[in-house]
Amino acid sequence: MDFRLDEDIQFLKKNVRDFVQSEVEAVAMQIEEENKIPERIIEFSKEMGLFGLSIPEEFGGLGIGMVGKCALYEEIGATHNGYTTLIGAHTGIGTVGIVDMGNEAQKRKYLPDMAAGEKIGAFALTEPSAGSNATNLKTTAVKKGDKYILNGTKHYITNATEADVFTVMAVTDPSKGAKGITSFIVEKEFSGFQVGAVEKKMGLRGSHSAEVIMEDCEVPVENVLGVEGQGYVNALKILANGRAGLAARNLGSCQKLLDMSATYANQRVQFNVPIIEHQAVAHMLSEMAMEIEALRSFTYRVAWMVDEGMKVIKEAAMLKLFGSEVYNRVADKAIQVHGGIGYIADYPIERFFRDARITRIYEGTSEIQKNIIAGQLKKEYKLD
């Protein structure tokens, strides 16, 4: 058993760290204030190839496995989470549908531009009446000649305002329930497609979530992603694939919080000693470090299982759940270690605290992850 990342991945990781820590960190407070990621940072990220993390080399991407991706996500997570989400949602749920289920022609048409960051990808499943219960979709797709006509509204769609290519789930056969859902590749230029209201959120500033409205939106039949009727399964697969990556991003944010907290505790003096000398503070740091280390081991183990082609339904759900819960606990302790300054918006700690909160909700809530785990346990322990 070898726990080291291979040398190439270490080298990629170091380069991403250098970029993120010197360029993105420098504008983190600006992103928060302006609710916008500077164009320069996006251009740099394109040049570096960060938008192509999930895309095979033959389509202009990086062509690395899940372990490598997680190593880079860890670095991308160690800064403003709005930036993390722009890259993370595009390279995660925004592109993996086309990578995993797209046919050759679809891959050739979309992936090179998505790898270059010239086209941003988004994933449109959630609707006002279909959140955790994704089978309750109301968006319909009716075949007419060589087109499908889509009608319906999606909401809370991450990166919707920036995205060019949407993976959209819609009902093609209402009589079949979950088996009557199909996934489509929808371009923002398609007639009848528009982005609606942009949400004001608790955090993740710089990353925008919005409504997507389709009114007689015309989608060519060749844009059916995978097999008709497999849309729900596709959606679950895309989400499952994203889980290790999401945990890795959370891991990066946790590590950044520990770095800041331990540094601060070594410098801040109260009662004539640095506060790390006070056992109450020291123990908080120990607990943060321990949970982060456990999350790191778990993340790379699940990533390795993915690369080995193993079935990871249960483990990926556990990891998504654990990663999100650890991030929230670590962010809470980071504020406590920092005291008053941790609550002040001039410093980044409270921002991480707000940004952490969404990780227990998006891409499958913590509760849904527990249901998935329990469902697997039920199968494993069933008496024949």
Partner: protein, 257 residues
């Protein structure tokens, strides 16, 4: 255009320097491309992008320098050469390095050689000009702008905050000053491709050089850290008293007047 870059591996600017047994402690330290050499690499790549040709990056030192050469390849250089002196030379100085580089470059028909204005570790700024002298080609140091048309070269040189415009011709050696360009981050696909680019390793023997030909002309007597800065003093009292006290302190204590 046949473009060469001289590159040195140096301590990361973020590293804290410590001394152990009379030498700078390198344990666990991070190393980088000397920042001024990074400008040279960037400029070389830009020259190739506008004029065509090939960029070769050359470094003298130990095997560890391979990492920084790979970074230059990942940025976009075409070839790298590591002249490994680990087994032959215990201590080298600017004479050593420039002699080796010039020996390597003498039959390469370089159109332009780019180097950093200074290395952030030893800070002599000598290697570039020495190499140009040995090759008998013109050189311009601390440049902030470079324009090439045919054989004609126009250079803006930083002279202590002012600038000087110099016209010269190829072949030429220049050393890069901060402000020449903004070095790119190596792209991730570039890093993967860099593994497949040629990185040649040479030793003194391959250049027909003897150890005594490149023997250092200087020797290090002692290495020490600058004295730690003490806390400043705030003078008390009326303005006129404070001025008097300050003047007397400058005379008697600081002895600068």
């Amino acid at each position: 255009m046949n473009i060469f870059v001289l590159l040195k591996r140096t301590f990361d600017t973020e590293e804290k320097i410590t001394i152990a047994n009379g030498a700078i402690n390198e344990d666990g330290a991070e190393f980088i491309i000397n920042p001024y050499d990074e400008y040279a690499v960037e400029e070389a790549i830009q020259l190739r992008e506008s004029h065509g040709g090939e960029v070769t990056v050359v470094s003298v030192g130990g095997e560890d320098g391979e990492k920084q050469l790979r970074t230059a390849l990942a940025m976009g250089a075409d070839k790298a050469v590591l002249i490994n002196t680990e087994d032959d030379i215990e201590y080298g100085d600017q004479h050593t390095t420039s002699k080796i580089l010039a020996e390597y470059l003498k039959d390469k028909e370089a159109d332009i050689i780019l180097a950093g204005n200074v290395a952030i570790d030893c800070g002599s700024g000598q290697v570039g000009p020495r190499v140009a002298d040995l090759l008998d080609i013109p050189y311009v140091t601390t440049i902030t702008k470079l324009e090439i048309e045919g054989d004609k070269v126009s250079v803006v040189r930083d002279v202590e905050g002012d600038s000087e415009v110099i016209e010269t011709s190829l072949p030429l050696l220049i050393t890069a000053q901060q402000g020449l360009n903004e070095p790119r981050y190596p792209s991730l696909p570039g890093i993967m491709k860099a593994k497949k680019k040629p990185l040649e390793e040479l030793e003194l023997d391959d250049l027909d050089l003897d150890e005594d030909e490149v023997e250092a002309k200087t020797k290090v007597i002692e290495i020490f850290l600058p004295p730690t800065k003490e806390a400043g003093r705030v003078l008390e009292g009326e303005i006129s008293e404070k001025v008097k006290e300050l003047v007397s302190l400058l005379h008697k204590e600081a002895k600068v007047i």
